[in-house]
């Protein structure tokens, strides 16, 4: 088994509230898996259970094949990075990073060597004697990372580590973390509510909603082939158009809306006449000239540097966005009447 981590049927409730509902998850060795979802969706609780800081009510958690049910956090082979760094304020950087090695009773010079190595890894070689309060947020987070990695744990857990940093710093550190991940080949379980961050960093993403995993897949899979409406709207920008199925054949539906007729793929068979919602990405929507597709009026054209975003109000009132790369001539001006359509392969229909 190459699985570093395996969760089976894990649940947790707080009183009457279900935080995590029977989830199954595996993390392969060396993989970067992100738990993505809005706050309260259960992703942090799941991470805490893997760390041992909270106990599941049902199910098993296995680290490297062995159940951790009776293992307290300090006996699990994990490293953890917290959102607010959790660096010990009364210890210098060296002592912070060396702390886990002290706990493992390594020799003093061995500790010194490994601490230097870890600080090199996160590109902070000279700051050993500083106190955490003397460091910037980004530096503190890097020290926290070094501290969590210095003893080479089997699994690295990260709880929204970049949430407290500003945008530029966040992007910088995302790359740093990826680099460290590659260099060390470590397995990472990452929690975030920022879907862009998840898409950038992960090998696979597990999307959480209300304690359940909606979909696990690579970023491309989640983006192009969302399996539920929640995933479609949470990951990336999506247009949602409501209508009724007219017919269905070979996994493709014909859908009637009050603005016109469109087609979309469907994961499961949908009965004729059933109400559906079609999810389609703005960059997959095209302006068409024939009398097909959906009728609408352009209400705004927004220039976003590399592309133009057209806000279109369909004749049934729905707002749609169309994204076109700059380069092609402007497709339509504000107030223009247009018709929109798309390839059925790039749109998904979900039961409403």
């Amino acid at each position: 088994m190459n699985d570093v981590l395996a969760l089976e049927g894990v649940s947790k409730r707080y009183g009457a509230q279900v935080a995590v509902d029977a989830i199954d998850l595996t993390l392969r060795s060396g993989e970067f898996l992100t738990l993505l979802g809005p706050s309260g969706s259960g992703k942090t609780t799941t991470l805490m259970m893997v760390a041992g800081l909270q106990q599941p009510d049902t199910g098993t958690i296995r680290l490297n094949g062995a159940s951790v049910a009776d293992l307290p956090p300090y006996r699990r082979d994990i490293g953890m990075v917290f959102q607010h760094y959790a660096l010990f304020p009364h210890m210098t950087v060296r002592r912070n990073v060396g702390f886990p090695l002290e706990m493992r009773r390594l020799a003093r010079d061995e500790i010194a060597r490994l601490v230097d190595e870890a600080l090199e890894l996160v590109r902070l070689p000279g700051l050993g004697d500083r106190l955490p309060k003397e460091l910037s947020g980004g530096q503190q987070q890097r020290v926290a990372l070094a501290r969590a990695l210095v003893y080479r744990p089997a699994l690295l857990l990260m709880d929204e580590p970049l949430g407290a940093l500003d945008r530029k710093l966040r992007e910088q550190l995302q790359l740093e973390i990826k680099r460290v991940h590659r260099e060390r080949g470590i397995s990472v379980l990452y929690v975030t509510h920022d879907q862009e961050e998840a898409l950038t960093m992960s090998d696979r993403i597990a999307v959480f909603d209300h304690g359940r995993i909606q979909q696990i897949g690579t970023p491309e899979e989640l983006y192009d082939r969302p399996s539920t409406r929640f995933v479609a709207s949470f990951v990336g920008d999506t247009n949602l158009v409501s209508g009724r199925t007219v017919s269905m054949a070979d996994g493709v539906c014909e859908i009637e809306t009050s603005a016109g007729r469109v087609r979309a793929s469907a994961r499961q068979p949908i009965a004729n006449g059933a109400a559906v919602v079609v999810a389609v990405r703005p960059e997959r929507v095209a302006f068409v000239s024939e009398e097909a597709g959906l009728a609408g009026v352009v209400t705004d054209v927004i220039f976003v540097g590399t592309a133009r975003k057209y806000a279109v109000r369909l004749s049934d009132g729905t707002e749609c966005f169309v994204l076109r790369q700059v380069g092609a001539a402007s497709m339509a001006g504000v107030g223009a009447t247009v018709r929109l359509s798309w390839d059925a392969a790039h749109a998904t229909a979900f039961g409403a």
């Binding site: 041992g52 800081l53 106990q55 307290p72």
Partner: protein
């Protein structure tokens, strides 16, 4: 599946000592009211019927009720200066208030007594300044008691009040000014209500403390200022009447509890750490 649950046991030693050396004995004393010398409610009947007991209880409540506003009134300007004065002034004032706060009750009561003697400093000053012809009786009466209580209790009001005041965002007063309130109205309608938590905390603290006082009335008050605690001591030391002592303790505790409930309902028992 215990991760870090062993920690709950650490509260046991303290809880045990508390139960055995405090809750138990106090419970025992309060029980005496219903058991000594015979089971029943006689002690309370006596308490109710014999005027001397009700008089002392009423007296105690009255004294506390008078002392409280005096202390609060005197504390207010000091707290205000502390909160709004310069940082240097604040430090000195805090020190000024802390020093007596940390000095023992006995020493301070004794010191006040010295000052208020017939030939003590205050009287000498008054006579020298020609304000009176004869030295005034300032001790062993309500005046002495009041002086002592104020001395001891001022810090108990100054600190919570200061805490409250310091938390008032100056933006409120500025807003009041721009909205057309003159300083007096702004003070009464905006500032004062915002200091209410501190006022309530300090006031109730003073009231409760005064209720239970023994040393100050014994040292500085006269026979007409006898308070409940002195009576309890009397019952035990002079009469050996544990039943009555228990009954009086129960009454004292009940009033104290009622005041605390009032505090909880109005402010919430967030103890301000010293």
């Amino acid at each position: 599946m215990k991760a870090v649950d062993g920690r709950i046991w650490l509260v046991l030693p303290a809880a045990l000592v508390l139960a055995v050396a405090f809750l138990g004995p106090v419970g025992w004393l309060l029980a005496r009211a219903f058991i000594f010398p015979e089971p029943g409610l006689q002690n309370f009947a006596v308490l109710w019927e014999r005027p001397v007991y009700l008089k002392v209880i009423g007296n105690t409540l009255l004294i506390s009720a008078v002392v409280t506003p005096v202390v609060v009134l005197l504390a207010f300007p000091v707290a205000h200066l502390m909160a709004h004065g310069s940082a240097r002034l604040r430090r000195w004032l805090i020190f000024l208030v802390l020093v007596p706060f940390w000095t023992s009750l006995l020493v301070r009561a004794f010191a006040t007594a010295i000052l208020l003697q017939r030939h003590g400093v205050v009287n000498s000053l008054l006579v020298t300044l020609g304000l009176v012809d004869e030295p005034l009786p300032l001790l062993y009466n309500f005046g002495g008691l009041l002086a002592g209580c104020v001395q001891v209790l001022l810090p108990f009001v100054i600190f919570p009040l200061y805490s409250s005041m310091v938390r008032i965002d100056p933006a409120y007063m500025k807003a009041a000014a721009t909205l057309g309130a003159n300083p007096v109205r702004a003070f009464v309608r905006v500032y004062l209500p915002l200091t209410l938590p501190g006022l309530m905390t300090g006031g109730i603290l003073v009231f409760i403390s005064t209720l239970g006082y023994y040393v100050i009335p014994a040292l500085l008050g006269g026979p007409r200022q006898q308070m409940i605690s002195q009576m309890i001591q009397d019952q035990i030391a002079t009469f050996g009447n544990w039943g009555m002592a228990g009954a009086l303790s129960l009454v004292l505790l009940a009033v104290t509890g009622a005041m605390l409930l009032l505090l909880q309902l109005t402010v919430g028992l967030r103890e301000v750490a010293r």
